[in-house]
Amino acid sequence: MIFVGLLLAAAVVVLVALPFLREPVADDDRLDAPSEAEGRRLTLVEERDRALAALKELEFDHRTGKVDDADYRELVGPLRQAAAVALRALDTPQE
């Protein structure tokens, strides 16, 4: 039983140390996280997806009769505009 325990403990130590055993010296040890610019771009992509999803949902609600013609006409314009703004912003090269 003690042997099993020691074996497990050794396996745990190896696994925890594995990233350092694989790369004793790392060329780049920084976490691969999105930069500030990538973070902003991620927000823009979210806004684009949100606007497109809202448009899709509005179309569906209109087809099922949950949103009548007058409400549809009032709501669809701003949503299309929001989607266009997000798409344009994504196409604009960023720093």
Partner: protein, 650 residues
Amino acid sequence: MADLGRAALVVTLGLAVYSLVAGGIAARRSERRLAASARNALYCSFASTLVAAAVLATALVRHDFSFKYVAAHTNRHLPVAYTLSAFWGGQEGSLLLWLLVLTGYGALAVAINRRLLRDLTAWVVPVIGGIATFFSFVLVAVASPFGTQTAPFDGNGLTPSLQNPYMVAHPPMLYLGYVGLSVPFAFAAGALLSGRTDERWIIATRRWTLAAWAFLGFGQLLGAHWAYVEVGWGGYYAWDPVENAALMPWLAATAFLHSVMVQERKGMLKVWNMVLVALAFELSVFGTFLTRSGVVNSIHSFSKSSIGPWFLVFVVISSVFSLALIMWRLPLLKAKTKLESALSREAAFLYNNLLLVALCLTILWGVLWPIVTQLVKGETRTMGRPYYDFFLRTFGLPLLLLMGIGPLIAWRKTSLRGLTRTLAWPVGAAVVTGVALAAAGADSSTPGLIAYTFSAFVLATIMVELVRGTRATGSLFLLVARNRRRYGGYVVHAAIVLLAIGIAGSSAYSSSVERRLTLGQSMTVAGYTLTNRGVTVDSKANVTETRAHLAVKGPWSGTISSGDNQYVNPPEPSREVGIKTDWLRGEDLYVIVDESHPKTGLIYVQVLVKPLVNLIWIAGIVFLFGSAVALWPDAREQRRLVARFATAVP
């Protein structure tokens, strides 16, 4: 064997501390290899906890009474299923289960998201490591399941009330729910710590939250059924503090599941969602604290112990940590849009959230009241059933109504004209139902009649939604497949309606009569005539069963028996009720024999007739089905998420 279990737990503690400290440093300094090492430590902590759990399970199956825990909670007569369920029958074992599920969930959630959310998971690891540190510390230093002794010939056995099939499943279900709420909490905290408060943490944890919520909800229904058939007082929910302890995080998680949709659609309620995630997690730990500390009297007081102060300290520290984190990141959580109309889907979700949280907090106040009065006045006072029933009606009935209105309102804005047209059918169905029921005599209980009317309204809403959606897409299957979350949610709404009808029927319209019956004497309850046919005593190896037998005539005819079991080991009694379910009439005949005299045949009996109570159990199955539909993996959604991240971070 016990040494291996103890060693495994010490290793888990070491790994959890390493995940917390090294993971925190790695995330703070943005060190890739150290972060990977901390992540591996989290994976290993699951493996070492699994070893500890395997040791305890083996000791239970082998009746190794040199383990104090095994001797305290099992004996040689116990069937294998109950012997294994003793794993969570006692405090130490159930804490080990908590840790096992936590490290398992944590490792899996981090492994799944380590590429897509690599900046975030670096912070998630130390948060889960911190929670695991607490639980492994308690298991190592305060309540170890691996204490040993000179083995006695036999153990004490499991509390008789826990020897029930529902008790095999109820606690693990609750734990899967309680602990599951740690995952969204850890990701929310990770998002705040990393400053990446975009939607990714929500998408990553949506299914975890839903699964935890489904386990918690279904676990509570299993517990309610156990109380109904085993505890033997004629009810299924007593507003017991420990029952409330499971209900509160479920209510907070329900609010979160709704409000998170507002954040996804409109980028609003970011602070509120963080608060709800933290509240659900804190309440789940608080629930474990209530169950395990014995700080308030409860039917679950078999689990009283001295670990309460440790839990209290943890709840306080983690609550302060959560609040401080939210306050620190408030500027990042500002909404980009505003509520456009009070008559919109997002507004309906907001009203729903306010009602759910209000119900949750009033229940919390009721649970804390005995502690508050003890601290302030030096005497313990408890909130009775009327307090909870009042708030259930006050907040629950409007919630039921909102469940019907919400799905019919469009996002952003709905004109009164459009809403009136959409509501016409459901309102018509509700009015017809209400009038018909009142004419049939159901107006003896106003809350009951309102609940039924609102239930008809919600069911009609769901039908209207399904019919219109099917017409628009051309196929019901396609409709559901394209938006599983929405239509799974509607099935869950239908389950809640069944639950409401069951609760209203069995509480507002039930009949109850208590009598002292001599041999051959009869009593009548709601059309049933019951005649005392005598008392029998049957002695078995570990139990003496005393049963009173009553001949029944009425809508159902036959014999029903009830009495008690007196166990030898452990030397405890257990009440055994008689239940006859009439599925056609949708009611239960429920017989409780409080006292019986075998020699004279004299019995003291309470007979209840509970209409529609079985809808509550059917609601559980519908609830599970709806949750499964909403949880079913959606490959298109996953591809969208990957594409979104790939677009933003090439």
